[in-house]
Symmetry: C2
Subunit: 366 residues, 2 copies
């Protein structure tokens, strides 16, 4: 039975073949570069999907919240929580079995001290470094502040300083490969300078999906943490970090209304399914995904005869750009929509239906 026969309502479909190809390609690239692969699991948040990484000998993972770490501890023994640690969650950290090696991320003294007073188990500590994104972290050039914080950590029991964590998240704001590579080189140069200063024996962690997808050389970090690469999405296509053929998730939505006068259809698929992330075409029109035809093996090529023009809470509005496209779709049909931002879409849908028919789990809550 095809997964198509299982559809009754908006459902996020996972094409296992594409996802597997994506993660193999990334694992191979990182192995070729001689670096550690510590994939970010915030994109899929699924134990079943995570298992595919195990088959490639991945043993170390990244998550973005303490809750997500708690979810993955059943299967994983080395977890970096790549978010400035919130001291109020120390009880959850203390409850994580000691077999799990945990890396927490800090960027200032008060959290380090609070941790040392409340921890009942050992943790590793990474210092959050700003390698150019400008969101948070100690600027990579501020060696004095980094050295001071490193010394503070090293003086405290239960805390083991293990290295530095950077994130060149401004790569997501690129418009093409050249910009991604420029950001990559600037960010890596900062990480390399840190490494030259502090020396070997530490982790120098970096690696967002855009730079890891586009770059072929990695000089500076010892480990890379891409996450979105397993699914990709319209946003990654928009900055040329992938093609539409690499997008491994697709929302199946039922058509619930047709409006001939406006040449538009309404689907059940809105902000509660996709999130409200959008992209703009070069001529300035906003779109909330790309339409694909669903097939029993997955889905076909992007159909640019349709424009995903608007999302409200439950409704998606799709405009036909020619009459033949409009006429070809009937109320009750199913369409696929490649999401703009697969991480937020997966986080809303809390699970996937595989093209194989397999139902995939997802971490609950936020």
């Amino acid at each position: 039975m095809s997964y198509l026969q299982q559809l009754t309502r908006p459902t996020l479909i996972l094409n296992e073949t594409i996802a597997d190809r994506n993660l193999n390609a990334m694992a191979q690239k990182i192995a070729n570069a001689g670096l550690e692969f510590r994939p970010h699991f915030k994109t899929h948040q699924s134990l079943k999907v995570a298992h595919w990484y195990k088959l490639l000998d991945v043993t170390k993972i990244t998550v973005s919240s303490v809750r997500m770490a708690s979810y993955f501890v059943s299967d994983w023994n080395d977890i970096t929580i790549a978010f400035p640690f919130n001291r109020h969650e120390v009880d959850v950290i203390n409850a994580i079995p000691e077999r799990v090696q945990l890396q927490l991320v800090v960027l200032e003294e008060s959290t380090v001290k609070a941790l040392s007073e409340t921890l009942t188990r050992p943790v590793n500590i990474l210092i959050k470094v700003d390698s150019g994104y400008g969101r948070t972290g100690i600027p990579a050039k501020n060696i004095a502040a980094l050295t001071k914080l490193k010394s503070t950590i090293e003086a405290l029991p239960k805390l083991t300083f293990v290295g530095f964590l950077a994130h060149a998240g401004h790569s997501y704001n690129s418009t093409n490969n050249k910009e991604i590579l420029d950001i990559h080189q600037q960010s890596e140069a900062k990480v390399a300078a840190l490494r030259a200063h502090f020396g070997e024996g530490y982790t120098y962690s970096s690696g967002d999906t855009p730079t890891c997808s586009v770059a072929t050389e990695f000089n500076g970090p010892t480990e890379l943490r891409p996450g979105n690469h397993i699914f990709y999405d319209c946003m990654m296509h928009n900055i040329s970090a992938c093609t539409y053929n690499d997008v491994a998730v697709c929302m199946a939505v039922p058509v619930v209304a047709k409006h001939a006068e406006e040449q538009k259809i309404i689907v059940h698929g809105g902000g509660v399914h996709f999130s409200k992330d959008s992209l703009s075409t070069p001529d300035g029109s906003t779109y909330f995904g790309k339409v694909v035809p669903l097939t029993s093996e997955g889905w076909g090529a992007v159909n640019d005869d349709w424009h995903v023009a608007a999302l409200s809470q439950e409704h998606g509005t799709l405009k036909a750009l020619n009459p033949a496209a409009f006429d070809a779709v009937q109320v009750g049909d199913w369409l696929g929509i490649l999401p703009v931002h697969s991480c937020l879409t997966a986080n809303l849908m809390k699970g996937f239906l595989g093209v194989s028919g397999t139902v995939y789990d997802h971490c609950e809550g936020q």
Copy 2:
């Protein structure tokens, strides 16, 4: 013990006093107008919150999906699913106990016929009417199409035609009360014309939160379906449909980083908590919420010394607009942020912590 002592991570706080005041005010206004109150529960999606409406003798409710209807059937016997019915969910409808009176919404023949072939229980049918929003529905002036669809429904067993459902959702795009009232009057005039044509004995359902909050007269509909009114949010404040003092939910977020050079702080609270809905100030700057101080009784007035400047997946970036504000906040502190769109925020957080300390349920999934 104050709810403040229960906080460890981003948590959506519900001020029961404000919510109770909001729903009493709306119930009173609708009772004074002599209309039926059928509140939309997509905003809170909570059985415990829903119970407050029972105390006001509300017996009929609105939801926006079949899943949400299934969630509320344990406690409610009269449910309108205010979304163009997706025929693939008929099995779920058939599984809802017959004690529950269900109103489904349709706007074309093929769904009506599919329903009649697959239903095993009786349902009531409302025809979706477009009273000016332009999203979906049969235009209210198209009496011929409405009459034809009504006749089709009336000829089929298990389906009972009961009326018309309109939604003046363009009121959300208003910028002030005058515009809201203009939309209200135009939409109501169309509903009134329908009522004059089709006569009494049917339901004429209307009523979004902006128009229900601002209008004092309701001429046309027999029932009103506001939902957001129980919580309100920055969006409703922005169009003058409420004041900030009426906003009944607030995200408690921990401060995890301070950046003196940029006079900004990072909180744990991002797109996975709030959604990415944003608003613009008159000078064009974008904001993702409004900062309030948390107190043991709830929260204080909006603090315009802070600007919620950006949200990424987990991070919120708040800029201090003066040095005193920046200096007053430390890493580890808790802040409150009034959400831009309380429906999407509640839908992401899947529950509330009451100021009273009560933990509130929320419908799972999408």
